[in-house]
């Protein structure tokens, strides 16, 4: 099965790659360019047409500061119902919450105790910022220097932020365990599983 994945950034893409390739083992995955959520919004009607006539499309975006997915969809001017082949998933509030939800895996990656991680990551309003704060408190130099921007720098991420986190997602992330701590992830995994049927 040919499945297209449209994500706003490399991390979202890796998350979908991991979940979709597990759910649909023989799927041929194709990725659109990661160019932020404005790009996804612009191309949304094209994705809907493709999903209706050609192949399934999985679109993943961050909720960011919208109160709920419905508000975001209204802002994107998305008309319901969506075609059957179009999966539109929204991470609450950002896809980083889904990584934080794998408490054991994430605490091991960052070298920090599990108690430091939020119990319900979906309720964290700025998970990227939390990830960076956690990195600063890590005992691992590679995490401190790679994930967080250098002290004083006018930058929002370290140079290896995407590399370290996407490697984690592709190789170590236990998203089944993470589903127990994140409703939005559990719903996404459930919907993607239906894609195989």
């Amino acid at each position: 099965m040919y499945i297209q994945i449209a994500a706003e950034d490399p991390l979202g893409r890796a998350v979908m790659q991991r979940i979709v390739s597990d759910a649909v083992p023989h799927a041929e995955l194709h990725f659109t360019a990661c160019r932020g959520n404005d790009y996804l919004k612009q191309k949304f009607s094209a994705f809907a047409t493709i999903a209706q006539h050609q192949n399934p499309v999985v679109v993943i975006t961050d909720l960011d500061q919208f109160p709920c997915a419905t508000a975001l969809m209204a802002h994107w001017k998305i008309r319901q119902p969506l075609p059957a082949g179009l999966l539109f998933r929204v991470a609450v509030h950002e896809v980083e919450s889904w990584l934080l939800a794998d408490r054991a895996g994430f605490s091991k990656l960052f070298g920090i105790p599990q108690q430091k991680l939020p119990g319900t990551p979906d309720s964290v309003s700025d998970p990227k910022e939390l990830v960076i704060q956690l990195a600063r408190s890590s005992r691992l130099k590679s995490i401190r220097l790679g994930i967080a921007p250098a002290p004083g720098a006018a930058a929002s991420k370290g140079f290896q932020y995407n590399e370290i986190l996407t490697q984690f997602v592709l190789n170590a992330w236990d998203y089944q365990a993470a589903c127990r701590n994140s409703d939005s992830l559990a719903r996404a995994v459930h919907r993607i599983a239906q894609l195989a049927e």
């Binding site: 921007p149 006018a154 930058a155 991420k157 290896q160």
Partner: protein, 387 residues
């Protein structure tokens, strides 16, 4: 050593700039012809003055077409050109050295340049290490045709500054010159700004260093260039150095291809990576994005960062002029290093980011989001069509 600040007067497009603070990575943005290359040329000029073979201010100025070409067209009355830079051991340490040079044409049909001021200050010393014109210059005005920094006898007390300027590296590799240099009888400029002699540079590195660098470069190429598998160095029968690459899509025993068959992008990427692994001195890169795929371009800031992490070296101060959205659309670039050039009726201004702009970047926008719209040429597609 790092350059901590620079201030220019009457240097080409720049009539008078405020002191500009510099970081370890400086990204230079601006529309075409506002002076990005001219800004980089300040540091090449300082290198040309101090270089061991045939340096000196007279030649450095005449190679640039003389004072007429050098001095700012906006300067109507004041014809003096002035450059001041600060140097320190690390970027957050107090400035160690300050070097100031001012000069103007002698006038009277003479093509000569006269030094009007040359000063060296050292942190912690109340008296300047050098302050010209001095009594000697008054006795013998001919001395003003040379700077003290260009002479070993007179720069003893601030040799460190001269050595720093000497080691500045500039590269704007033109792949065609490297590939076809022999056939077009390409005359190679001193200091090889266009990379014609790049292979000789590779050949001159000690074998162990060369092999280890090429191995690292090969690793990057394997990711960046589809089907690229191997890279090696070889001298041909005539003793000429060559780089050879192997691609998987050729027949398995198809053998190696020489650099003249490499794509422009491959050559530029190889030379860029080599430079990043080579030396600790100030590096000036002119539009490194040329002929490279956007995906690779977007990784250039990360490559700069990685080269330092791997070598456990001090960060190499690098100035990069660029137009590339892909390169600047990076949340990890320290935006304190952004300089954007703004043309005004009184010459080009060098702008540094405001606190407000830095806050936008810290909140997650990228330099591409914040600064490119400000520097873009003010025209739409229709204005560019002329047919």
């Amino acid at each position: 050593m790092y350059l901590t600040h620079v201030q220019l007067k009457n240097w080409r497009n720049f009539k008078q700039t405020a002191p500009v603070n510099l970081r370890d990575k400086v990204y230079l943005l601006g529309a075409n012809a506002v002076g990005k290359s001219n800004f980089l040329d300040v540091f090449r000029f300082l290198r040309d003055i101090t270089k061991e073979s045939g340096g000196g201010i007279q030649r450095a100025v005449s190679e640039r077409g003389g004072m007429k070409m050098l001095r700012c067209l906006h300067a109507r009355n004041d014809s003096e050109v002035s450059i001041e830079v600060g140097l320190s051991e690390s970027l957050d340490a107090p400035e160690k050295w300050r070097y100031h040079l001012a000069f103007k044409g002698e006038g009277k049909d003479s093509q000569r340049v006269l030094v009007t001021a040359e000063q060296v200050l050292l942190h912690g010393q109340s008296r300047p290490v050098l302050s010209r014109p001095d009594a000697g210059d008054k006795r013998d005005p001919e001395r003003l045709t040379q700077t003290h920094i260009e002479q070993i006898n007179t720069n003893t007390n601030f040799r460190e500054v001269a050595t720093f300027f000497q080691s500045v590296t500039y590269l704007h590799l033109v792949p065609q010159l490297l590939k076809y240099g022999n056939r077009i009888g390409g005359h190679q400029l001193e200091d090889d700004p266009f990379g014609q002699g790049f292979l000789d540079k590779v050949a001159c590195a000690p074998e162990r260093v060369r092999n280890s660098r090429l191995k690292k470069i090969q690793k990057v190429l394997a990711h960046a260039i589809p089907q690229f598998s191997d890279l090696k160095f070889e001298l041909d029968k005539g003793g000429k150095p060559h780089l050879l690459g192997r691609y998987e899509h050729y027949r398995p025993h198809a053998g190696w291809t020489r650099e003249e068959h490499f794509s422009d992008g491959t050559l530029r990427l190889i030379s860029l990576l080599w430079l990043l692994l080579d030396g600790e001195s100030l590096l000036l890169l002119e539009e490194p994005e040329l002929s490279l795929d956007d995906k690779i371009v977007s990784q250039i800031p990360n490559l700069l960062h990685k080269a330092e992490m791997a070598g456990k070296r001090k960060p190499r101060q690098t100035f990069i002029s660029t137009h590339s959205y892909a390169l600047l659309n990076n949340e990890s670039i320290d935006a304190r290093g952004i300089l954007w050039l703004k043309p005004t009726s009184e010459g080009t201004e060098i702008r540094t980011p405001s606190e407000h702009e830095l806050a936008q970047i810290r909140a997650g926008l990228t330099p591409a989001d914040v600064f490119l719209p400000k520097v873009a040429a003010r025209l739409n597609d229709q204005q560019l069509s002329f047919i």
